[in-house]
């Protein structure tokens, strides 16, 4: 699988914002973890939830708390693939003034202090389309974003984003679902770079979890079609589930469970309390401990 070389001249787009980035943060991170013999903890948080300052504080604390890859949810009014927790997070974020440009600004500030942790933006197409796809990809790369997950752009429509993402050196991370059959897998995987995100259930985020048996059958099926790292998401809530997913695949994505902790920490008006970020980061520490303790089988 060829991937864009972030060390190439266009990477000079990472202008001025702190330490120089190593080439291909996503590939580098997964390779390093493979050498350690463990999977990645991928954590999701919605930008601007419940406000910019709190969410930036959490973002900055994530690498130290043990997140290996950071997924930042881009708020959208109509998150079709998300359950109630992330829907509410999006509404809190939009109320707090979130915009796509604002999210890129947060990443820029994060990058000023962290050159190594991969950052992936996850969201829906319309805000990107409204921003302008080419300009967005360039600005995202310049801000220090490494990859994109655009939930409602399947391979059939990806030609709208792919050339621009590639030109900017952004990985386009694709979702593979239990409904993605053998005939379709090669097509979905062909355009994927960075890692593959396995949506482990047929359903929306934060609703139910896949069984161990279902995962044990699904992961080898996808591995036969790709050499890329494989992360499992949707329905991973506990340290034990995260450890198991990270052992089975190359990474475990935890989203709703963290968003729920954040939501539970807010006051009656939905505002952050002094220990909101600490509560979220403590949970990340617990997840990281479990993932680090789970050595991968041969």
């Amino acid at each position: 699988m060829s991937r864009p070389d972030r060390g190439a001249p266009q990477a000079s787009g990472e202008r001025g914002a702190g330490p120089t980035a190593p080439a291909g943060r996503i590939a580098a991170r997964f390779a390093a973890l493979q050498r350690e013999g463990r999977g990645a903890l991928v954590t999701y948080l919605q930008a601007y939830d419940p406000d910019r300052e709190t969410s930036l504080a959490i973002l900055r604390g994530l690498p130290e708390a043990g997140a290996d890859v950071i997924e930042i949810g881009v708020p959208f009014t109509d998150p079709m693939a998300d359950g109630p927790s992330i829907q509410r997070a999006a509404l809190r974020a939009l109320k707090a003034g979130a915009t796509l440009a604002g999210v890129l600004g947060m990443v820029r500030e994060f990058r000023a202090g962290d050159a190594a942790t991969p950052v992936v933006l996850m969201g829906y197409y319309n805000p990107i389309f409204a921003y302008g796809v080419a300009r967005f990809c360039a600005d995202a790369a310049a801000a220090g974003v490494d990859g994109l997950i655009v939930v409602d752009v399947p391979p059939e429509e990806a030609d709208e984003i792919e050339p621009h993402a590639k030109a900017a050196g952004l990985d386009l991370i694709r979702l593979v679902a239990p409904t993605t059959d053998e005939a379709r897998l090669p097509r979905v995987l062909a355009a994927t770079s960075g890692f593959v995100y396995y949506v482990s259930i047929t359903g929306i985020t934060g609703t139910r979890s896949a069984t161990r048996e279902a995962l044990a059958a699904a992961i080898p099926r996808i591995r036969r079609h790709t050499g890329l790292p494989l992360a499992i998401g949707f329905g991973i809530r506990t340290p034990q589930q995260a450890a198991e997913a990270a052992r089975l695949a190359d990474g475990a994505v935890v989203g709703t469970a963290l968003v729920d902790t954040l939501a539970a920490s807010l006051d009656e008006q939905g505002r952050a309390r002094p220990d909101t970020s600490r509560q979220v980061l403590d949970q990340v520490r617990g997840l990281a401990l479990a993932v680090r303790g789970a050595r991968q089988a041969g």
Partner: protein, 405 residues
């Protein structure tokens, strides 16, 4: 017009489900294989004579098609201009045009072996039609309806329950049609194996805009034959209300390649297109991606979807079918709008002059007919789609007129 006109306006969509740049299949990967399955099944079904014959049989004997084409003589005299005809789709079983496409889709769902039906609804007309077809075919039916709409469309909510459907009030967002559609899509993602999503309008991912249009085109095909019999010619103008745009596509599509036929799609202007409270996505929106397709959307500068407003729950949607977006850009169809007040006035006018209480949706179309007819000579013919009856709206209208019921 800056873009070259196609040889035919009736060739769309292309293999990717696009009408020009509009349409497409913008759905999550989990749904994509299912969308492709619906497309394959529909392609086969529409070429299967037995399938189409069964649909036609249901239209004739269950729905009561063809619906009459009524010369609205008193209205014509009152307006003093072109002759006005009503296509009486409000006389269909269930009281609106929605049943035409629902029966086609339920037959398709059965053919695909699906055992559960879900639908979204705004005014409740599509929900009632879907619940009706599910009762007839003995399929469990779940209807997603914004909690705001549940409140303002109580008669239809009760109808759906009588028909055995489960109603899921949706409280996210503004709790109207857009949010009901989000929730239906979320349910579908979670129940891909056994569930068919019966979409009520010419929107959503390909093949829905094409499939719903094809089924609804029975409206325009009948008008063509009926007007030929009554007047020996084509109409000069067609007028239909636009929410998602299914009744309008059904009326317009068979006439798109007849250049002498002008077409008017009437969007809901709510409290006025110059205010923030309207549902005029073509007049005031811009292209974006929502609910599986690219089309004109009401949205802010950052691509966040704005809430629509209309007195009519059936038009209260911030988007529009992609084929309308395409016809709008090509200039083939003229998209205009009517306010809540204009629709209310037309609603009352129709009741008093023609003895027909229209739904608030076609009352918007009528509001444009009221403007248009007097500007045309008496030998011109306007056909308006009276796509639904107003029983469901009398409580809302009474409230607006300050009448206690």
């Amino acid at each position: 017009m800056s873009k070259p006109l196609p040889n035919s306006f009736r060739q769309g969509p292309d293999a990717r489900g696009r009408f020009g740049e509009f349409g497409g299949r913008f759905v999550a990967e989990t749904l994509m294989p299912l969308i492709l399955e619906v497309e394959r099944a529909y392609d086969e079904a529409k070429r299967d004579a037995a399938f189409m014959a069964e649909w036609r049989r249901l239209l004739a004997h269950y729905v009561g098609r063809p619906s009459p084409l009524w010369f609205a003589e008193r209205l014509t005299r009152h307006l003093g201009g072109a002759k006005v005809y009503f296509k009486r789709d409000e006389l269909n079983h269930t009281g609106a045009h929605k049943i035409n496409a629902v029966l086609g889709q339920i037959l398709l769902a059965k053919r695909m072996g699906k055992r559960r039906i879900i639908a979204e609804t705004g005014a409740g007309q599509h929900g009632v039609a879907t619940a009706t077809a599910c009762a007839l075919f003995d399929l469990p039916c779940t209807v997603f309806m914004g909690a705001t709409d549940v409140e303002r469309q109580q008669p239809n909510v009760f109808r759906m329950k009588l028909l055995g459907a489960e109603i899921r009030p949706v409280t996210s967002g503004a709790a109207t049609l857009k949010d009901a559609m989000n929730e239906a899509l979320r349910d579908w993602v979670a129940n891909v194996a056994d569930t068919y999503y019966c979409i009520g309008t010419v929107a959503g991912p390909h093949p829905y805009p094409m499939m719903v249009r094809d089924f609804q085109s029975v409206i325009g095909e009948e008008v063509r034959a009926q007007l030929e019999a009554a007047e020996g010619r084509l109409p000069d103008a067609l007028v239909a209300a636009i929410g998602g745009g299914s009744n309008a596509m059904g009326l317009f599509f068979p006439f798109l390649d007849d250049p002498s036929v002008r077409m008017f799609g009437v969007e809901a202007a709510g409290r006025g297109v110059e205010t923030e409270e309207h549902a005029a996505s073509l007049s005031r929106g811009r292209p974006g991606v929502l609910h599986g397709n690219r089309t004109y959307l009401l949205q802010d500068g950052d691509g966040q979807i704005r809430e629509a407003h209309s007195i009519s729950a059936g038009l209260d949607y911030p988007g529009v079918g992609p084929e309308h977006a395409w016809l709008h850009e090509l200039g083939r169809v003229e998209y205009v709008s009517a306010t809540d007040e204009e629709a209310l006035a037309a609603f009352q006018l129709c009741a008093r002059l023609e003895g027909i209480i229209p739904a608030l949706e076609p009352a918007h179309a009528l509001a444009h007919v009221v403007r248009l007819a007097p500007t045309l000579p008496e030998d011109r013919i306007i056909v308006m789609n009276l796509c639904g009856r107003g029983d469901k709206d009398i409580f809302a209208v009474a409230r607006h007129l300050g009448v206690e019921m």
